[in-house]
């Protein structure tokens, strides 16, 4: 992992399973889930459902939504908000792809570190 200004390089995109997610523990902070959509886009959320803290990284990804594996809340990968009738929000970490590498916002990734 390397630091490029305000962005953290966390590895190549091809390490993400298609329509799946991988995890990124933050020492002293909240684990982050990195999602890969069918279109090859990458999103990052804190890996905790706003409902009962389920690991969103283990949910089914469809379109730009992940369905939490514990109680099937649907969470937008773009806004982190619960969709449908449920209410709640999980922090979003900005992502950009540069030359096949995944970069995530440093400040947001470390926001949960005390």
């Amino acid at each position: 992992m390397s630091v490029v200004g305000e962005w953290l390089d966390i590895g190549p995109v091809d390490q993400l399973p298609a329509l799946g997610a991988r995890t990124l523990p933050v020492r002293g902070g909240e684990e982050i889930a990195i999602f890969h959509t069918a279109n090859g886009e990458v999103y990052a959320l804190v890996n905790k459902c706003p409902h009962k803290q389920g690991p969103l990284s283990q949910g089914i990804v469809h379109d730009t939504t992940v369905t939490c594996p514990l109680h099937s809340w649907r969470i937008s990968l773009i806004t982190g908000k619960a969709l449908g009738d449920d209410e709640g929000c999980v922090p979003v970490i900005p992502v950009k792809i540069d030359g096949g590498r995944i970069l995530i916002g440093r400040a947001e990734a470390l926001a949960s570190v005390a």
Partner: protein, 818 residues
């Protein structure tokens, strides 16, 4: 005439020459112009290299500006002599030959370079890019000898190269890193259709394939993928992408990012130097398509000559130039907040259309098979036109949307159809015939289906027929379908979907979605697991399980718990274990700090609190002691519960433990619509609780009493008697047949209890008890399916399969600040 300021253009490509044309059009006398080109030829249309390769065009056809154009406009063309240095202080350029020219204005149009993946062997003879006439020449020479070619890159350029080589008689394999083709332009559904079409033309398409090396002795002999597969080839084309050529700009100290930085008038950080085309970066964007580059050229000429109209960036659209395959994409199709997808699929014509709408404006479109309206959608997108009025008809295209017939009310829409408009494509039934049938007394969907056959086949026009019923009958028609669609993505019921999978031989999830007109691009969390199961059940041994369509427990082969850790249950055949297994379980519990070990209701041991990362190691340890997955997480055979039976019990009538073990060995590993439990009790005292299982066996002196459809759980239900048989083998045979009937006919997520209640015990008995041949056929299909299912998923994972699911991508360790 020599007093005119001197404009030097570096780059005799499409952007450079187009910019010159735009300048000449505005003021032909303003500049004395010199163009330097690296290639020893006049300006040609690089986009047409694909048709050139395919043999559809000749070089003369693709020349944009012949020598006469340079002569007529007094342009000096210096071809085949590359500019190697710029001196900004004294405003000169130096070419490789040593030629020095001074400039007043300098235009960089250096284009882009193909990106070469630096794998071992990338510089070997026989590895080419697809960028200029020399590349095409090399490819044509290679194609002359026939043989095998590999194209690395399944994007626009790579597919066009593959198409050309294929037409030239080579056997082509396309290697693409991402799971679907052209993923930057197409969504999963369209990418899949494209893959099918190209495979239909004899190309081999490998997606999700990562190149490890190119091998050969001086000459290319083939490539090796990271998964070890080898593909022989005498030609390897790298078409993985391009990057702006900024070498000169960098050496001369201009501001660059990914490309050469330019302002809205394409001026670089030096006021006398401009840049245009693929080499520039404008507001963080770089462009590789021709339309935005034309727009840049206009803004550049405006800025140099006339009133300034700045370049504001471009929205781009793409078409694939592979003859006979129509693909179009424009704008943003990634979906997301506030975006709505309007999807239309026409399976018979091979059409997929998806328009993405946000705040009543079109923001993107993906079209496959019928791209006629591509430009119309692109126009709506560029003009940001409000589409509220035409929304309902939008997906049907311009002719329909602007020609009337469009209406917010679906009843008005069907009312507006003419009497000869076709409602049911399968059976060729017109609106007039349906209305006649309703008028003749058919007042329900079923009556219409049996009366005139409309919607009686594939069922995709069911909605239209219902609208016609409502139109004809008014309030008297209240709708009737008690059999609900599978989910919001489709109007088909579970039964319709399963029937179509078999009849149309649909064998992949995107294929089902296309054939059955799914209204979402890639389904949802309810239909994807269901489709995965239906395909798995219909095509054992053929369908490749889609791991990402499975619920977490089935994907991880363990049960997720509320804290995100997992529990692991190894199989204990018939509930019997031994010291070796118990020791292994105890060791695992200690080694991986399991917080609890619990005896389950299904007579086995559950190890709680295992971390996702530790699962493969836990499985390896359990495998080593001879244990396999208990599938305690799966919609599959869970346990066969037994009592000790005649071997120990003074009341036992038969060997219930032995029969339980045989039953479990026959049935383990089979995926089902929901979890499935079996029990064998050795006497009517029923210590194994066989009467609340999906399949229960109670041993009696004279044989075995079989019963089905029971469960514990929220709605406690005792089993219904099926029949009594005399031998163990018969008990096993009936069990296999019943499971297969359940697998083939129940809806996904139906336990046996609601299914048995819905279809009735008479039906079950008619299939399992009365129909001897049918029972045997069911049993055979079950055993055939089992021949593919019975391998331990844990062993594969312990061997490293899907390791990405278990390991963290990386870890962040923030520096502690004082």
């Amino acid at each position: 005439m020599n007093n005119k300021p001197h404009l030097i253009v570096i780059g005799n490509g499409m952007a450079g020459c187009r910019a010159v044309e735009e300048i000449l059009e505005r003021d032909a006398d303003k500049f004395r112009i010199t163009i330097f080109g690296a290639e020893p030829r006049v300006n040609y249309n690089r986009i047409m290299l694909s048709p050139l390769l395919a043999g559809e065009k000749s070089f003369d056809d693709i020349v944009i500006n012949a020598q006469a154009w340079y002569d007529d406009n007094g342009i000096t063309l210096v071809s085949g002599d590359q500019v190697v240095a710029i001196d900004r202080k004294i405003q000169t350029v130096t070419a490789r030959s040593g030629r020095v020219e001074s400039y007043d204005k300098l235009l960089l149009a250096t284009g882009s370079d193909p990106f070469i993946i630096p794998v071992p062997g990338h510089d070997m003879q026989g590895v080419v890019t697809f960028r200029d006439m020399d590349d095409v020449g090399a490819m044509l020479r290679a194609a002359d000898g026939g043989g095998d070619a590999v194209v690395i890159g399944g994007g626009l350029l790579g597919l066009e190269a593959a198409h050309g080589l294929s037409l030239r008689g080579m056997k082509v394999t396309v290697i693409h890193l991402m799971p679907t083709l052209m993923e930057r332009q197409l969504d999963e559904a369209a990418g899949w259709l494209l893959k099918e079409a190209l495979e239909g033309r004899g190309q081999t398409i490998l997606t999700g394939a990562d190149t490890a090396e190119i091998y050969g002795q001086g000459m290319v002999e083939g490539i090796r993928l990271k998964d070890g597969r080898e593909i022989p080839a005498s030609l390897v084309v790298m078409a993985v992408g391009i990057r702006p050529n900024v070498k000169l700009a960098r050496e001369t100290g201009l501001a660059i990012g990914r490309g050469i930085h330019v302002d809205d008038h394409l001026v670089t950080s030096d006021a006398n130097i401009l840049a245009v085309g693929e080499c520039v970066e404008h507001q963080g964007q770089i462009y590789g398509l021709v339309a935005p580059i034309w727009e840049m050229c206009r803004s550049l000429a405006d800025g140099l000559i006339a009133q300034p109209n700045g370049y504001t960036g471009s929205v781009t659209s793409t078409k694939l130039k592979v003859s006979g395959i129509d693909v179009f994409s424009a704008g943003d199709f990634s979906g997301g907040e506030g975006c709505e997808d309007i999807v239309m699929r026409d399976a018979t014509r091979g059409v997929y259309k998806r328009v993405i709408v946000k705040e009543d404006r079109v923001i993107g479109a993906v079209l496959y098979g019928d791209t006629g309206d591509g430009n119309w959608y692109f126009d709506l997108l560029k003009k940001q036109q409000d589409i509220t009025e035409i929304r309902d008809a939008l997906i049907f295209g311009q002719a329909f949307a602007s020609g009337g017939g469009a209406s917010a009310n679906p009843l008005d829409a069907v009312a507006a159809l003419s009497d000869d408009a076709e409602i049911c494509g399968c059976n060729g039934v017109s609106k007039g015939q349906v209305m006649g049938c309703i008028a003749g007394g058919a007042h329900s969907l079923d009556a219409v289906r049996s009366g005139c056959k409309a919607s009686a086949s594939c069922g995709s026009c069911t909605g239209l027929v219902e609208n016609l019923l409502a139109l004809a009958m008014g309030d008297e028609y209240a709708g009737e379908r008690d059999n609900k669609p599978m989910c919001k993505c489709t109007s088909f019921t579970h039964e319709d979907v399963r029937r179509n999978i078999i009849e149309k031989e649909l064998k992949e999830i995107p294929e089902v979605m296309q054939a059955l007109h799914w209204t979402t691009p890639d389904g949802c969390a309810s239909c994807r697991p269901a489709l995965n199961y239906y395909l798995l059940c219909a095509w054992p041994g053929e369908f490749a399980d889609d791991n990402q369509s499975r619920f977490v427990n089935e994907r991880m082969h363990a049960n997720i718990q509320k804290d995100g850790t997992y529990s692991v249950v190894p199989r204990m055949w018939g509930g019997v274990t031994n010291p070796r297994e118990l020791r292994a379980i105890a060791d695992v519990a200690e080694k991986y700090e399991a917080r609890m070990v619990k005896v389950t209701g299904g007579q086995r041991l559950d190890i709680f609190g295992i971390k996702k990362e530790d699962l493969p190691a836990v499985w390896a340890d359990l495998n080593a002691a001879g244990m396999v997955s208990g599938h305690a997480y799966a919609k599959a055979l869970r346990t066969v519960k037994t009592c000790v039976g005649s071997e120990w019990c003074r009341f036992g009538t038969q060997d219930s433990t032995g029969l339980g073990i045989k039953t479990e060995q026959m049935t383990w590993g089979s995926w089902m619509p929901h979890k499935f439990k079996i029990a064998v009790s050795g006497c009517p005292r029923n210590c194994a609780e066989a009467t609340i299982k999906d399949f229960g066996i109670i041993c009696v002196d004279s044989g075995y009493e079989l019963s089905v459809g029971g469960n514990g759980g929220i709605h406690l239900r005792g089993t219904d008697a099926l029949c009594k048989v005399e031998t163990e083998q018969e008990a096993l045979d009936y069990c296999a047949a019943f499971i297969q009937l359940y697998r083939e006919e129940a809806r996904y997520l139906d336990r046996t209890a609601p299914w048995v209640e819905r279809v009735g015990m008479d039906y079950i008995k008619s299939r399992i008890v009365d129909d001897t041949e049918g029972r045997e056929a069911l049993r055979q299909r079950f055993l055939y399916s089992q021949s593919f299912m019975q391998d331990d998923p844990w062993a594969k994972r312990a061997d490293g399969e899907d390791y990405k699911l278990h390991q963290h991508l990386a870890e962040i360790r923030p520096l502690v600040t004082a």
